[in-house]
């Protein structure tokens, strides 16, 4: 990809940096729900087991990017910034979800109905079948003490961790192994209660008051694991400034040399937090409905 004065409305031509992509995703699920009516109780209970997969092979900047500040610079081959990436862009991610719930709609009196529910979710984090997951843990960071002009040279002594199920092909012996999820916990305590009521105080039935509250979990997407594909030690971006056009790119290692931490390359990236939890929201609602002749007045709050 060649970019010429792009910030000033110039042109970009060539192959896009993120264009080589093979991606597949799928979910298989088995679920069962049983509903029954017992007197004043309407009971429902169920279970759902899901298997998620995400396979992809991507190349970030594997065809390079060269920026020129002006058209004259382009004609004379005076590059500004050259960017080149390489690494292991392939992942075979898997995850399992286990969901269970039970709920009861209890018609206490003709004027009052109560709703109780409890849901449990174990949304196991994704893992790679070859263990090609790694991240940077700030709590383990130990900078390399060698300096050149006050700047640490080479990658840190410690800070990176890799998946415990990493295969021999992708294992970097200098990087400690943690769980296959890389995370510190799979977050198993995801109990989600739900409460609700509907009450009609007047004998005419014209007034109804409703309310409810619940906690709702939702698994994280595979995105946070995917973002780390372009991070060290499985990937590097080499940046050169004003390099000769005949050889503009930083000499990144060949693909079969990864994972590795390459000296001279910024080890920055978008790393996943090892303390990540299953996200959830708390949601409540309250509403009043009043019927008068052929008109219904309604006021509600949702938060």
């Amino acid at each position: 990809m060649i970019q010429i004065a792009l910030a000033a409305g110039g042109i970009a031509f060539g192959t896009a940096p993120l264009i080589d992509v093979v991606a597949q995703g799928g979910t298989s699920s088995v679920s069962d729900t049983f509903s029954t009516q017992r007197g004043k109780h309407s009971l429902r209970m169920g279970a759902d087991v899901r298997f998620n997969l995400n396979l992809y092979d991507v190349g970030f900047y594997t065809r390079g990017l060269i920026q020129f500040l002006s058209f004259n610079d382009f004609l004379t081959g005076s590059t500004y910034v050259s960017l080149f990436g390489n690494g292991v862009g392939r992942r075979t991610l898997r995850s399992w979800d286990y969901n269970f719930f039970v709920q009861d709609d209890w018609k206490v009196t003709p004027k009052l109905t109560l709703n109780f529910g409890l849901r449990y979710e174990l949304d196991a984090p994704p893992y790679d079948t070859q263990g090609r997951l790694a991240t940077f843990d700030p709590g383990l960071y130990q900078p390399r003490m060698l300096t050149a002009g006050g700047v640490p040279v080479g990658p840190p002594i410690a800070g990176y961790v890799q998946a415990g199920n990493v295969t021999k092909q992708y294992n970097d012996p200098d990087i400690p192994k943690v769980s296959k999820y890389v995370l510190k916990s799979i977050d198993p305590n995801n109990l989600a209660p739900r409460l609700g009521f509907a009450y009609s105080p007047a004998s005419s039935g014209q007034l109804v008051v409703r309310g409810g509250y619940g906690i709702y979990y939702s698994r994280t997407s595979f995105q946070y694991a995917t973002l780390g594909v372009a991070d060290p030690p499985t990937y590097v971006f080499g940046v050169n400034v004003q390099a000769p056009f005949s050889n503009p790119f930083f000499p990144v290692p060949a693909g079969n040399q990864f994972p590795t931490l390459v000296p001279g390359i910024a080890l920055s990236g978008t790393f996943l937090d090892r303390n990540i939890r299953t996200p959830y929201v708390q949601q409540g609602n309250f509403g009043v409905q009043y019927a008068m002749h052929h008109t219904l007045f309604e006021a509600g709050w949702v938060g």
Partner: protein, 107 residues
């Protein structure tokens, strides 16, 4: 392709099947990719999209007060994207884009 099938196996049992298949090849003249693509024609890409969704559900009634619903399902999506005319480094005068180098040279 979309297909739905409902069958009342008996008074108490109903079987429901759903099938959805699609194949959608595309040619993108100006592939954007977060704004990082070319902004002039001539560097398009081929993108192949396909998907499969299959679902099978059985509903069984236990008398008039109880119902059981069992379901298995499968979904699959695929997206492949490749440039039509990749620009090679040699074609614009770049000698070598990568070369092997000893790793861990700092150790």
């Amino acid at each position: 392709m979309n297909a739905n099938w409902d069958d009342h196996l008996s008074v108490a049992d109903t079987l429901t099947a759903k099938l959805f298949l699609f194949d959608a090849p595309q040619t993108l003249v100006l592939p954007s990719f977060l704004g990082a693509g070319a902004n002039v024609p001539g560097f398009g890409n081929n993108q192949y999209n396909s998907g499969r969704i299959v679902s099978l559900q059985e509903t069984h009634a236990f008398g008039t007060r109880s119902v059981n619903e069992a379901r298995i399902s499968y979904s699959f999506l695929r997206v492949d994207a490749f440039p039509q005319q990749p620009v090679n480094d040699q074609s614009i005068g770049i000698q070598r884009a990568t070369r092997r180098r000893p790793i861990r040279a700092w150790a």
